[in-house]
Amino acid sequence: MQKEECREARDAGTFLILHSTFFIAAASFSSLRAAMASLFDLPFEEPEPEPLLPAEPAIVRDAPAPAASARKERVVYSVSDLTARIRGVLERDLPELHVEGEISNCRQWNTGHIYFTLKDANAQIRAVLFRSAARQLRFRMEDGQHVIVRGRVEVYEAKGEYQIVCDRVEPVGAGALQIAFEQLKRRLEAEGLFDAARKRPLPTLPRTIGVVTSMDGAALRDIITVLRSRFADARVVLRPARVQGEGAALEVARAIRAIAVVRGIDVVIVGRGGGSIEDLWAFNEEIVARAIAACRVPVISAVGHETDFTIADFVADVRAATPSAAASIVAAHRNDVCTKVHRLHDRMHALVRTRVTAARGRVHAASGRTALAGWPGRVAMRARHVFEMRHALQRAMRGRIDRATRDSTALQRRLEARDLRRRVGLARTRAVAARGRLDGLLQQRRHRLEARLGAAAGRLEMLSPLAVLGRGYAVCWDAGGRHAVRRADSLQAGDRIHVTLAAGRVDATVTETHPDDNTRSDPQPS
């Protein structure tokens, strides 16, 4: 009879692994039965060993008896007996088996156990995956998935139900990793972790670069080599982490969290060299994705080769095709910023230089006009000091030339001090040329003025009272030679005086003054 059931099971297409020991003491199933009892009382807990039920072995032992005497008398089972018998048969004859089917009504309870129904076109069976087994799942079970489960059939007598208690569930078709990848990707995407708006720009000036990778991998060597050649002064802080194998994801996640809080870190590169999907798996784990998303500074992912895409790549602020590429991105960004600073400086300098040159031209032109105006008039009015004034004028003009030269030199110095060296030559040439033009201009003006002064002096001489001297008059000056002496009472005996004649000058001493006498000192009347 048990063999018949076996055959039926085989005929039904279920793959069975049969133990040769059909008559295992039923006592060994009692714990399973206890498990079944708890199974259907929701919420479920994982089965725990329970003491054997004393009645259990008796039923199994008695079972052959009614069958053997079937021809003689009617055997009436109690429901419990029958169910216990069914349970005994199922649990003994279907010890561990693999079943292929589609998942439906899949639910995970708070306790961690997963309940679902496995079905094909014509039949279905309830199934459960307890928490301890559910933890081993690499992917998330969902309705519609085509899977092969491994487990045992168990019966719950109180409800007359049976189900498969699974210890392993594997997807059919795509690998478990592939499915896990797609699922996590979909889930994080729905959460918005891949949104473009979340991506942070690289720091304006990256100076300290955090690197999370393994100490002995090719990735570290590549990153350092590229930084050496393209960003020689980079400061690198390395946080070693195992990047493959059991526990790698946890290590990588912890490393990201640890390096993010190091002072001065501007950007973090997380990655490893190429490998199989299993080798790269740590970077497809949720814990790593979350660590990247929570990182304080921008993260560049650099996992495997160009064709490898991991969850880390989707979450990172920047995805680099390879570790070398990650280092290149940082170096290029930094070099772009340096170039930008240089350009801004040069542009600013050129603009100001143009402005200063224009202003300087205007200043010289304006000061020349206003300062020189009025000079000829003043000179003409003060004929006696014509020559002194001429000297004063020349001094003043020299002063202005000197000042202009100083200004020009100072501007030139400022230009030299702030300009890039290649500009200094040009600036100096311009400064010299400007000074030359300025000197020429002032020289020209001076000549013109001198000519005018000469003419004015000539005219003045013609009209001057001094011309009267030619007719025999003399002018008497006081000792200082500043004032003409007009009154005798302004002098005393002993005062020195100067007498200007038509030709020459006489210095004399007063011997006597006659304030009231206008006639005696008159020259001989004609």
Partner: protein, 84 residues
Amino acid sequence: MTEPTIKDFEAAIAELESIVKKLEEGDLTLEHSLALYERGVTLSRYCHAQIEDVERRIELLNERGELKPAPVGLGADATSRRGE
């Protein structure tokens, strides 16, 4: 390099850009242009100093969160030992 009027590199480069823009637009007095220029030179110097203010080195962050110099030869190229 400390420059109390400059917040950070990003602020410096942004201000430098705005100065160049103002100078390009013209219509400034000479005094204003020169004042902007002085400020621009300060900013530009700050930026250059920031760019150069990087101490080339490789450090290891250990389990206790301490920074240690990386072993010599890490990264396996000769240039990494420059100046050591």
